[in-house]
Subunit: 333 residues, 2 copies
Amino acid sequence: MKITIKDIAKMADVSTATVSKIVNHKDQNISQATRQKVLDLIEIHNYVPNRVASSMITKKTNSIGLIIPDITNPFFPEVARGVEDYAKLEGYHVILCNSDNDLDKEVSYIGMLQEKMVDGIIFTSSSLRNKVSKEFLRLQIPVITVDRDITGMRAQGKITVDNTTGAYQGVSYMIERGYKRILHLGGPMTSKPALDRFEGYKTALDDHGIKYDEKLFFEGNYNAQWGYEGVAQAITNNLEFDGIFCGNDMIAIGAIKALNEKGISVPENIGVIGFDDIYMATVVTPNLTTVRQPNYRMGYKAAEMLIELIKHPERKMKDVVLKTKLVIRESTK
Amino acid sequence: MKITIKDIAKMADVSTATVSKIVNHKDQNISQATRQKVLDLIEIHNYVPNRVASSMITKKTNSIGLIIPDITNPFFPEVARGVEDYAKLEGYHVILCNSDNDLDKEVSYIGMLQEKMVDGIIFTSSSLRNKVSKEFLRLQIPVITVDRDITGMRAQGKITVDNTTGAYQGVSYMIERGYKRILHLGGPMTSKPALDRFEGYKTALDDHGIKYDEKLFFEGNYNAQWGYEGVAQAITNNLEFDGIFCGNDMIAIGAIKALNEKGISVPENIGVIGFDDIYMATVVTPNLTTVRQPNYRMGYKAAEMLIELIKHPERKMKDVVLKTKLVIRESTK
DNA sequence: TCTCTCTAGGTAAACGTTTACTTAATTATA
DNA sequence: TATAATTAAGTAAACGTTTACCTAGAGAGA
């Protein structure tokens, strides 16, 4: 039998209220003698308070849900780590949910999280989808989105990255280094980040007196496969280009692989730049020049905002837009 | 105000017991008319059952704790995904805990998980540490360890990988391909997997008539940094070798980087083989020949065992030892 | 001495479910 | 027709806490 607050109370010959006060450090009005007696008993009998019972009363579970598409996607472990770190600091637990960007799974998770009475939800997406289940819109608890909006819903908080400026800086850098015809292998244009990066790309060209050529723009997915195929296709089509701005690092990694196989040298013949700065970027040959996204920060910030909202639901949160940073390595000359 | 089972019961003019039975599908003895009436009310008012209240009675929270050192380490997302996938299948939630192999954090997490009344715990470690907190030993709930033992504790279940055979196969393959003096850049020998791989390495040499030379064995960590340094050191020491068997892929990636920088060609001059088969192995140049560990499987299996134990605590679990697989790519000739 | 204010703790309801047991009505069986 | 069995519910305790409110005694001030 598990030992409860009643057992401790009986043994200490006090009421459960007294024990409760001591356990929760609301014990200004408890004598040192009683406190010590109770604390000793707790230690001896290894009493651990049942937080599900407390939750019934306090209406707080001290847990938050983290919905991401796939922890296996190298983008997400860092944001997960960020939210977990801050959550722990504040005594919250995080429940990990992999949605695979699948509406059904999302609905199912939202249901489970609601039933478990989580205090809030952080929602991250790889932005491959723009719809969101109506279950989301019904939610009574605070939701923070990171990296994207939820259409039709005003989430209580929003963390994004300044993708436009990031792309602008990356592309500008390429132009300044002498690259003139820069291919853009973008992510899916249904997603805001992909759109913003495309925007930054165009503006950078424009500001440097280069006319945007739509033949140099390809829309695809966020994976290495697509980077590989995109380059292969461009070459087959005899497209002329001397640089590639990729929608993310995975695309860039695929692109470099294709170039290597064709015997095209990076960065001498063609420069490549990615987006994200995942660890792999430092490991491929050549090391990838890329626009770093503060993934850990995003997660951490998201948890910060969420927990502040949990504590003060009436507070209005300002959206936060994090800055990117150009990381120059070897894939550009 | 959140709507409760009582509200539904009142509106449907039935008892809460009836509603409860319907919600939990224990409704053989409920008339279709009543069932439908209640179901409709639930739908209309968007009633969601409070599982923390149920947990009080059923003594089950349907959640499990997953303690890993760091989700950011490329080894772990796959195992996390494995446990999450199976857990979801069975209606369990997983609470993610990053321990950083730090005893204090571990103790803190165990405390929190106990208080939250998780039904079981999966404990994974990067094997950098062998001690475990006494809090672990006190735990009343089932614990499954993956990848390593907990010293002094008989966990209710254990998932490991046959590291010895894996190493044996990898090293044998190198020898058969003509490599003769094979360096071993191992992980920390405080960890069982590192030891077993070392064992497999020696046995393979032995079985192929090559004498083990202790000058060719280096003990280190599990990261790329160490691989880089290990090789640099070996070269500085004018050590003669034509192959490297690495304690894991990260080490191998670091080693290849060092070799590349010295202008030593892989695999022509020196062959390199890793362990794990993380995604990065397919992305470095040359692609890494490695011994694949079934990470996802490990996580999945662990969740399977844990949940079986939760349902049938009396059952005795057989330890499972998963097989590795040699994946031949480009870093060996 | 009387009243007031602290101090140290106790009382008991409440949180939202589940479930063992009970009950009333209906149907089947002999 | 009398009884047994089945169906379709309802009753109320229990789960382990927290907390608003209460109380008894001690000391202080007048």
